[in-house]
Amino acid sequence: MIIEDLVAYILQIMIPYILASTGIIVAGRAGVFDVTVEGLMLLSASVTFTTSYLLGGNTWLGVIAGSSIGLATGSLLWYLTSVRRINQFIAGLTLLVVYIGIAGLIYKLVIGITLSPPRIPVLTGLDWLSINVPFLGSVLLKQNPLFYIAIALIITLHMLIFSSGWGISYRAVGENPRAADTSGVDVMRVRLQALIMGNLLIALSGAYLVSTFTGTYTDTIVSGRGWISIGIAIFGGWRILESLLGAVIISSIETSIFILQASGTWIPYQILQMIPFISMISILVWISKKAVLPRSLGRNYDRESYEEF
C-alpha cells in the first residue's frame, strides 16, 4: 500500500515537470532556448484558475484557457526572435518578468484580496475499470484525465520529433539551420511550429499545477519548477524520453523530502526544501562533460548573415 502511494505521489509530481521539460525540448530542438518557462507556467496557472472561477468552477475550460496562453506566447516569442531577431534570452527574460506581473494582476483583479483563498474543483481521477488490478490499479488507472493527456502528448511528441521522417527535418533546424534552409526547409515556419507546440505544453504544465493537487492558486505555486524543468531538459540531452529519468529523480527527491518532513525529522524544513535545488545543480555538474545539445540552440538564424562555414 505504501509503495503504491509513493509511486502515485511521484507520478503526480512528475507530470508538470515532464510537460514543461518536453515543451522546452520541443522548442530547443528547433534551436530556440525558451527561458520564459517559469513565467509562462505561472501565468497559465493564473489564467486557468481565474477562468475556471469566473465560469463557476469549470476547470476544463480553465485548462483550455491556460493552454491558449501558451499558444499566444509561442507566437509572440516567434515574432520577437525569428522576425525581429531579438536575442532569445533577452526576449525570454523580458516576457518572463511581464508574465509574472500579469499573473498576479489577473488573480487580484478577478479574486481580489481575500483572507481565505478560493478553490476551484480539482480534476477528479477516472474510474476506468471496475476490477481492482493490484498495484497498477490505483496508481496508473485512476489518475485524472489530464494525466493521460499529458502522457499521450509526451509519447506522441517524442515519436514525432525523434522517430519520424518529419522529425529529421525538424531537428535539422536546431542543429544546422543553414543546412536545413538550403535543403528547402522553411526555417521560420518550423520555429513557429516549435514555439507554439512547446509553449502549449509549458502552459499545460502550469494549468496542471492548478487544476490537480489542491485546486488553489498562489504566487508560489510554480516555485522554481520552470527552472528545474530546464535543468531536466539539459540532463536528458534534450531528448524527451531520456529527460523522463531526470523528472523521476527530482520527483523522487521531492517525495522523499515530503515523507521526511511528515515523519517529524530534526532536520529543519528549510534545509529539506533546499535539497531539490542543490540536487539539480549537482546533476547539471555531473552531466556537464557529456552534455549534448542541439548545435544551434539559442542562436537566431539569418540567411543573409555571413557566418563561418
Partner: protein, 512 residues
C-alpha cells in the same frame, strides 16, 4: 543534349550596395550537359549560382525553367523546379547519419509522421545508389565520413530530391585525387541519365576534363563560352584573368625592391610544418619556409587551400602536428598565441566579422584590441589617447565614420576592414600575418594599405601576406609562394615568377 535549353538565365543583374556583382549575365543550360563555370574569386560565379538556387534575389533579369518564367523566393522554390546546389562547404547535419542527411528536408520524409520512414525511404535511396553507382555507407555518421564521401552524400541528397540540375560549387577543392576520379565517374553517369550539371570551379584541369562547355566569368560579366575540343588552355586563362602575359597592374605602381632585403636576419622559420586540420579543415603539410626581417612574403592561392589553417598555426591558434616553428631564434611550436603576440607577432584574420570585429564597441576601441595591454601597462586606460590615435588612423586610411566613438558594427564592410588594418598598424608587430586584408577595398585604399605595408617592412616588420588576389601578391611581395592543397611552393622572388606560371600553380595545372 536536346535543342531547347532546360534553363535559361536572362540578363541577370545583382548589386550589393555599390558593388556590381553581376552585370547582365545570360546563359543557357541544356539537359544532360556538364557546364563548367570558371572564373577568379569575385568574378560572380557563386553569386550567380546563389540566385539560381533561390538564396538571393536578382535586381534585374529572369530565369526560365523549361520555358516557364520562375521566381525563386527561397531554395525550396528552386528545389521544386529541379535545381539543387551542393556548396563548397558541405551543409550536412553533424550527428545525423548519411541516410538521414540524404532524406532531410525532402517532401517524402516530411510527410511521414511515423517511424516507418526508414523502411519506406531506404529502398528508394538504395536503388538510387545502385543506379548511379555512388557507394556510401548509409549508416555512418557524417563526422566519420571522409570529405569525398560527404560530397557523395550531398549529391545523393540532390538526386533524392529529383534534381534535374545539379550545381556543384568548387567541388574538388577539399577532396582527395581518388575522390575526384570517383566524382568524375558519378557525374558522367548523371549526365547519361539526362541530368544537367554546373561545375563551378577555379580548377582548370578538372573543369576542362569534364565539361562539355565552359562559361568564363570575369568581374561580373560572361566573357565567353567555350565548347569541348574547340579551344586551347591559354585562351581559357586569358578569358579568366585577362591578358596574362603582361602584369595587370599599373607599372608605376610596382615598387622597387626594398634595400633591406639584403639584411638576411631570419625572423620566422617553419620547419617541416604540418598543421592539425581539425574539423573539416585543410591539412597543411610539409611546409618549409624562412621569413626575413623587412620582407613581404606573399602567399597566393585559391581560397580554401589551407591559407587559414596555415595562418592560424603560425600565430598559435591551431596545433602543430609535426615539425616546428621558430621565431626570433626561439622554438615557439608549443607556445600559446597570447605569448606569441607578446613576442611581437600579430594576426589579421580573414573573417573580419566573426573573428575580428567588436561590433558593439567603438571604432577606436576596436583598434586597440590585442595591443591594449601593451599600450596601457597599468590598471587604467586613457580614452583620449585611444581616440586621438584612432582619429589619426581614420584620416590615414580614410575610414568613413562620424567619429572614432561610433559603434564599429555600424560601419560598412570596407571600413570595418580598414579598422582591423589600423589595429595591426598600431600593434607595430615584428611579424604580421595578414589574410585577405584588402578584400572589399577600392583601388585607392588598397594602394594606401600597400604603401603602409611597405613602410612597415622598411621598419623591419616581416609580413606574411596571404591573399586570394594574385595581382596584389605579385605586386607588393618580395617573394611569392603558391599554396595548393595545403602545400607551399618554393618561394621565388616576385619578379622571377611570372603570372602565367603562378596561375598554373594556383589552379593545380602544374604541381607545386
Amino acid at each position: 543534349m536536346s535543342n531547347e535549353p532546360f534553363i535559361r538565365i536572362v540578363n541577370i543583374h545583382k548589386n550589393f550596395g555599390q558593388v556590381q556583382a553581376l552585370k547582365g549575365i545570360s546563359l543557357d543550360i541544356y539537359s544532360g550537359e556538364i557546364l563548367g563555370l570558371l572564373g577568379e574569386n569575385g568574378a560572380g560565379k557563386t553569386t550567380l549560382m546563389n540566385i539560381l538556387f533561390g538564396l538571393y534575389k536578382p535586381d534585374a533579369g529572369e530565369i526560365y525553367v523549361e520555358g516557364e518564367k520562375k521566381f525563386f523566393r527561397s531554395p525550396s522554390d528552386a528545389i521544386k523546379s529541379g535545381i539543387f546546389m551542393v556548396h563548397q562547404h558541405f551543409k550536412l547535419v553533424k550527428g545525423y547519419t548519411a541516410f538521414e542527411n540524404i532524406i532531410m528536408g525532402s517532401e517524402q520524409a516530411r510527410k511521414i509522421y511515423s517511424p516507418r520512414w526508414r523502411e519506406k525511404l531506404r529502398p528508394l535511396v538504395e536503388s538510387m545508389i545502385a543506379t548511379y553507382g555512388i557507394r556510401i555507407n548509409l549508416d555512418s555518421r557524417v563526422e566519420q565520413l571522409s570529405l569525398g564521401e560527404q560530397q557523395r552524400v550531398e549529391i545523393l541528397r540532390a538526386l533524392f530530391r529529383g534534381a534535374k540540375l545539379l550545381i556543384l560549387d568548387e567541388p574538388t577543392t577539399n577532396i582527395s585525387p581518388q575522390d575526384i576520379e570517383i566524382l568524375e565517374k558519378i557525374l558522367m553517369s548523371l549526365k547519361k541519365a539526362g541530368i544537367s550539371i554546373i561545375f563551378v570551379s577555379h580548377k582548370l584541369r578538372e573543369v576542362v576534363s569534364i565539361s562539355d562547355r565552359i562559361a568564363v566569368l570575369r568581374k561580373g560579366e560572361l566573357i565567353k563560352i567555350f565548347r569541348r575540343g574547340e579551344y586551347e588552355e591559354r585562351s581559357l586563362l586569358e578569358a579568366m584573368f585577362g591578358n596574362i602575359v603582361e602584369a595587370l597592374s599599373d607599372n608605376e605602381y610596382k615598387y622597387s625592391i626594398n634595400p633591406h632585403e639584403t639584411d638576411r636576419e631570419i625572423l620566422l622559420e617553419l620547419r617541416d610544418l604540418s598543421c592539425d586540420p581539425g574539423d573539416g579543415g585543410v591539412q597543411v603539410r610539409d611546409v618549409n619556409l624562412l621569413i626575413y626581417k623587412g620582407e613581404i612574403l606573399g602567399i597566393a592561392g585559391v581560397a580554401g587551400n589551407g591559407q587559414k589553417e596555415l595562418a592560424e598555426c603560425i600565430i598559435g591558434l591551431r596545433k602543430v602536428l609535426k615539425g616546428s616553428i621558430i621565431a626570433f631564434g626561439e622554438d615557439i611550436t608549443h607556445i600559446d598565441h597570447r605569448e606569441r603576440m607578446r613576442k611581437g607577432m600579430f594576426y589579421i584574420p580573414e573573417d573580419r566579422l566573426a573573428e575580428g570585429l567588436l561590433p558593439s564597441m567603438s571604432v577606436a576601441e576596436n583598434m586597440i584590441l590585442g595591443i591594449h595591454r601593451k599600450i596601457f601597462k597599468g590598471f587604467f586606460l586613457d580614452n583620449s589617447k585611444i581616440n586621438e590615435m584612432a582619429q589619426k588612423m581614420i584620416e590615414t586610411l580614410g575610414i568613413k565614420t562620424s567619429s572614432p566613438l561610433a559603434a564599429a558594427g555600424s560601419l560598412s564592410g570596407g571600413n570595418i576592414q580598414k579598422t582591423l588594418i589600423a589595429r595591426a598598424i598600431a600593434a607595430k608587430p615584428k611579424i604580421l600575418i595578414a589574410h585577405n586584408i584588402t578584400r572589399g577595398l577600392d583601388i585607392l585604399t588598397t594602394r594606401s594599405v600597400h604603401r603602409i605595408l611597405r613602410e612597415m617592412c622598411n621598419e623591419g616588420t616581416a609580413i606574411i601576406l596571404i591573399s586570394d588576389d594574385l595581382d596584389e601578391v605579385l605586386q607588393i611581395s618580395h617573394r611569392v609562394s603558391i599554396i595548393y592543397k595545403g602545400r607551399l611552393s618554393i618561394p621565388l622572388r616576385s619578379e622571377m615568377l611570372d603570372r602565367e606560371k603562378a596561375v598554373m600553380l594556383m589552379t593545380g595545372i602544374e604541381n607545386t
